[in-house]
Assembly symmetry: C2
Homo-oligomer: 291 residues x 2
């Protein structure tokens, strides 16, 4: 059993990006520039945004962080998006989700210039990914493909079972892993809440990607020996072992399943740290297209 | 065993559309208007285009048919597309594929206004379909969902196996059937040329969608009793039984598999006739958004 160390890979990627940025800057170019818009004061979002800003500093990106009040109206936010779309010195930006209920998230997402959509949520980028064209892939699926590539996990001809069909994890990773590419060519099955015979399906899987948000859902009797486990779940559960009073739990019962697996991502420290590295990768990509 | 009669359903849909068009026209509105651009004189394309024009007449649409010579350059075609994009009295248009090799198909597709992209090939429409938003769905997958709806075939919780991962059939139908909707909620597996243990997988399928273009590939020993067969294959094979010297064959060995199935689409007369009905549906939809 080998632990897939997302923290390590994430740091490697950030170091590689920092190297590349240094070369551009040394050759007289401006550094890549990412902006983050946050509306309202959702606690979780604040932490995510802080981590993104910190990562920008670590890799040598310029970052801009705009905080708008909870009662910001849609029109104002659209104007801000339009401003960012037109700003030639800004390579990519994200509007941190969720947004307050009075603003249409989809409308905001579709207003973002697809060439600056480093979250990869714009329909144009989703569409390009779906048909195998180059574009921005959302952070979590992009991070998973990086882990697969860097740990040289064979996917071609393998049975991959995805638990969850969300637009930001389950759906895109199911598409990517079944496409004709270096981390693809797998036979992919998408399971979800309406799948009746789940255990029969997961027991046939060479690789399981769990993204349903039910802590410790996958138990030892649901997997076959040698399975590769990619655990995307991150649910906070109460814990008396930690100072904070809670603990992050994945969708997989790690203690039971890890001994049976050939590779496994822990929670925390597996897929989680990859999302910020992916955002940095997407921003560097936007920068290269922009300059 | 029940034959899924695509010709019948296609005619029903066309009649429904004709009814609706009549109402619009009787209320003083102009009829829907579809344009087809064809470049070069590919024999197959000519026939397809003629059938589309005929269908327009049958449902009461206005149609425009533009034939451009084989040596048309990309710039000229892009200008034509731009003209059509701006024409307020044109609701939808398609550029018949394949295009001559000196023209980038993807560039042309991406130049089409997504609101007029009744083929559903623009990345924006593919992206919207992928994340479950309303847009234009390509003709073949749209036709398959219509057959499933009208024959009231249960998909929720069923094992669906798709053979083929093409961007215009396998991929989109795999997404649609696994989404949360009236013809979805299935557990969907996408198989392709790199799937090693195909028979093991197809034998577990409640529904098989075959779209690989290998005539009579699916034999009796690859299916379980009661399977639903959607056969998208249409390969011309030599035949001494027909005047033309050839015959259309599906991806399924009909003689062997039909007796085992609960529902089956014949070839010809199954999925094939649905594609034109779907194009008419998409054009009517574009019209309603436009007027």
């Amino acid at each position: 059993m080998q632990i897939i160390d997302g923290k390590l890979i994430s740091n490697q990627i950030k170091e590689e990006i920092a190297e590349e940025v240094k070369k551009y800057v040394n050759s007289g170019k401006r550094p890549p520039h990412l902006a983050v818009i946050i509306v309202g004061d959702d606690g979780g979002s604040q932490t995510y945004v802080q981590n993104k800003i910190k990562a920008c500093e670590a890799v040598g990106f310029k970052s801009t962080h705009i905080e708008l009040p909870d009662d910001t109206n849609e029109e104002f936010l659209l104007k801000k998006v339009d401003e960012f779309n037109k700003d030639e010195n800004l390579d990519g930006f994200i509007v941190q989700l969720p947004l307050p209920k009075h603003i249409s998230e989809q409308k905001i997402i579709e207003a973002i210039n697809p060439a600056k959509d480093v979250d990869g949520f714009h329909p144009v980028n989703i569409g390009k990914m779906t048909i195998g064209l180059d574009g921005f892939v959302p952070a979590t699926p992009l991070g998973i493909t990086e882990l697969i590539k860097r740990y040289k996990i064979e996917t071609s001809g393998k049975n991959v079972v995805i638990l969850g069909r969300s637009n930001i994890v389950g759906r895109p990773i199911s598409i990517l892993l079944s496409q004709k590419n270096e981390f693809g060519n797998a036979t992919v099955t998408v399971c979800h809440s309406r799948t009746p015979n789940l255990k029969d399906i997961t027991r046939q899987a060479d690789i399981i990607v769990a993204a349903i948000g039910i802590p410790e859902f996958i138990k030892a009797d649901m997997v076959k020996e040698g399975v590769v486990i990619i655990d995307v779940g991150t649910t906070r559960v109460k814990s008396e072992e930690t100072k904070s009073g809670w603990k992050l739990k994945g969708d997989v019962n790690y203690e039971e399943v890890a001994p049976l697996s050939s590779y496994i991502t822990p929670v925390p420290g597996g897929v989680g740290p990859m999302t910020i590295a992916s955002l940095m990768q997407n921003t560097l990509k936007a920068y290269k297209m922009n300059i």
